[in-house]
């Protein structure tokens, strides 16, 4: 189901003890990639983590996980990309679990398919319903822009939409080898944002200290609540 691609760009031969210590200091950021079926979520994450376009892509069933360690301003940062299934039934039941503790969201649409762009408000709304901190970085990616003759989503329209949600827009192609650096740049932009926005304790240490299910977000479980949802 999943390709686990741990591409460490700066791996050096070191003693195992040193490596573990370094890992302990390495910050981990969890990024969820969402959007309609067949917009290229798997290809984008695969392109970034493996530096190539996958030969044979398949429908994602449930959630796939990929990761890559990158160097941002001298700091090793691990980006965990959670690639989700696009079919509605999965996102309604299965994907919710993966919204937890995410540090950034990548919304993906297909520039050749208007419906995948039109569904974006729905995806954003869904994120809001999952109570993600609205300050976490979100980016909008229009994929498949190599198919120039089929482009259906106008850049200006997409830019206006992105502006209205205060997120940057990137149009790219996971398939086009010439755009490979562009895909990298998108995720690196996100990595920079995350690095500078979150001067926090390394998640690795947080885990070690026992940040488990019962301790994340359940303190006020029994207090009175009211719904805070968007209109969708």
């Amino acid at each position: 189901m999943s390709d686990l691609n741990n591409t460490d760009l700066h791996e050096e031969p070191e003693s195992s003890v040193t490596v573990i210590e370094k890992q302990a200091q390495r910050r981990i950021f969890k990024i969820i990639v969402i959007g309609d079926s067949n917009v290229g979520k798997t290809c984008l994450t695969y392109r970034f983590c493996s530096s190539k376009f996958p030969d044979k892509t398949e429908a994602t069933i449930g959630v796939d996980f990929r990761e890559k360690t990158v160097n941002v301003e001298g700091e090793q940062i691990k980006l965990q990309l959670w690639d989700t299934a696009g079919q509605e039934r999965f996102r309604k039941s299965m994907v919710q679990h993966y919204y937890r503790n995410v540090h950034a969201i990548v919304f993906v649409y297909d520039v050749t398919k208007m419906s995948s762009f039109e569904n974006m408000p729905g995806w954003i709304c869904e994120c809001d319903q999952h109570n993600l901190n609205r300050d976490i970085p979100r980016i909008l990616v229009g994929n498949k822009c190599d198919e120039k003759e089929k482009i259906a989503v106008n850049t200006n329209l997409a830019q206006k939409f992105a502006d209205s949600y205060n997120m940057p827009l990137f149009e790219t192609s996971a398939k086009d080898d010439e755009k490979a650096n562009h895909v990298d740049a998108i995720f690196m932009t996100l990595a920079h944002k995350l690095k500078n926005a979150k001067p926090m304790m390394p998640p690795y240490l947080t885990v070690q200290l026992g940040d488990n299910a019962q301790r994340r977000g359940l303190e006020r479980a029994s207090t009175e609540e009211r719904n805070d949802s968007c209109s969708c």
């Binding site: 189901m1 999943s2 390709d3 686990l4 981990i28 969890k30 079926s37 067949n38 044979k56 892509t57 398949e58 429908a59 994602t60 069933i61 449930g62 959630v63 796939d64 996980f65 990761e67 965990q80 299934a85 079919q87 039934r89 999965f90 309604k92 039941s93 299965m94 919710q96 679990h97 993966y98 937890r100 999952h130 109570n131 901190n133 609205r134 300050d135 926090m200 304790m201 947080t206 885990v207 200290l209 026992g210 940040d211 488990n212 299910a213 019962q214 301790r215 994340r216 977000g217 359940l218 303190e219 006020r220 479980a221 029994s222 207090t223 609540e225 009211r226 719904n227 805070d228």
Partner: protein, 394 residues
Amino acid sequence: MTAVKEISMISKRFGDEFCSEEASKNNNSRQSVKRNKEFNKSEKWQNIEKTLEQDPVDVSSLKQFAISPGGLLDDELRKEIWPKLLDVDVDNIPPKPGIEVLHGHRDYNQVVLDVNRSLKRFPPGMDENIRLGLQDQLVDLIMRVLVNHDELHYYQGYHDICVTFLLVVGEDVAFALVDKLSLNHLRDFMDANMDRTKHILNYLYPIVGKSNPELREFMERSEVGTVFSLSWLITWYGHVLNDLRQIVRFYDFFIACHPLMPIYLAAAIVLHRADEILACECEMCFVHGLLSKIPQDLPFEQLISKAGDLYLQYPPADLAYDAILNFQKTQSYAKARSKNLQKFTRNKKIDKKHWFIFDHDRKNGFLKFTFWTVTTAVVSAAVIAYLRSFEWEW
């Protein structure tokens, strides 16, 4: 229940050595050698042919062949035996409806998207034109079932099951077989939503926990959930295994068994990999990363036996309570957390700095205790009602 009988018979022949988890752990390699000696393919082939010559054919013997080592051995035998196992009359298969009917279905576009991306499921080196023809047939096969039963909903992964049948028995017979399976073994996956699929996944932890409580505790603590096994369950492993031979071997087993058997096999795989899992960082991403990728060289025959063994030791009825408890636990947790965060994000008096502290300073054991006390109380009250409504009769 017939499936129990079948597995029981097989278990008597091959199961003694797998009865004890400890014995199985210690003696895997020795057992595997022993098993290979016991399994004589040509002898089994002869026995299958003898059974097929009988009129009426003894279906329970065929089920036994499908479950026992090697399964049904060959696709020619499968063509003949799978319809018998599913009580399908291959001489009276309804004709294919017109294109406009097939293409007018609500799920047609999604099916086409998924079939177009299913290249990996066709044998490597297959001529492109043949493959394209088969992909067209695959779309038609799926649409025929969906059109035939309006209550069934397509899910991504259903195409992985259908392509397996298509490659072994051809479009028409595949339609008849998948049509039958969709109303039985696969029915729970084909609701409008995935609630019942989730419920089946909730059987995984109870089965694992009965055999290896430490492993269950570790997996729960990691919060890995069950989604790593979702594609195993709903595609009958077709999505995650590369070798079609291995996939059809599993299909022999699943067709002949209780619909929950794929989850028992999932438990067998997880238990088999216990040492690897326990050596892993106890965190969702690490455990998910490890488990979601099934090594292609696992001792699959042994795992089939193990799954049968687990089924006998811990039949679904014995696990229903625990599975519901598991379901309730995850639901309560998700709901509680969701509500809590909603309130928290609304509270404008608390600035980001506090948010940061809140997010990372959670070590109060009392709160943990309170949560579980509340959850247990709620669950206990709900469980009796649920037990009545979730009786598993297949």
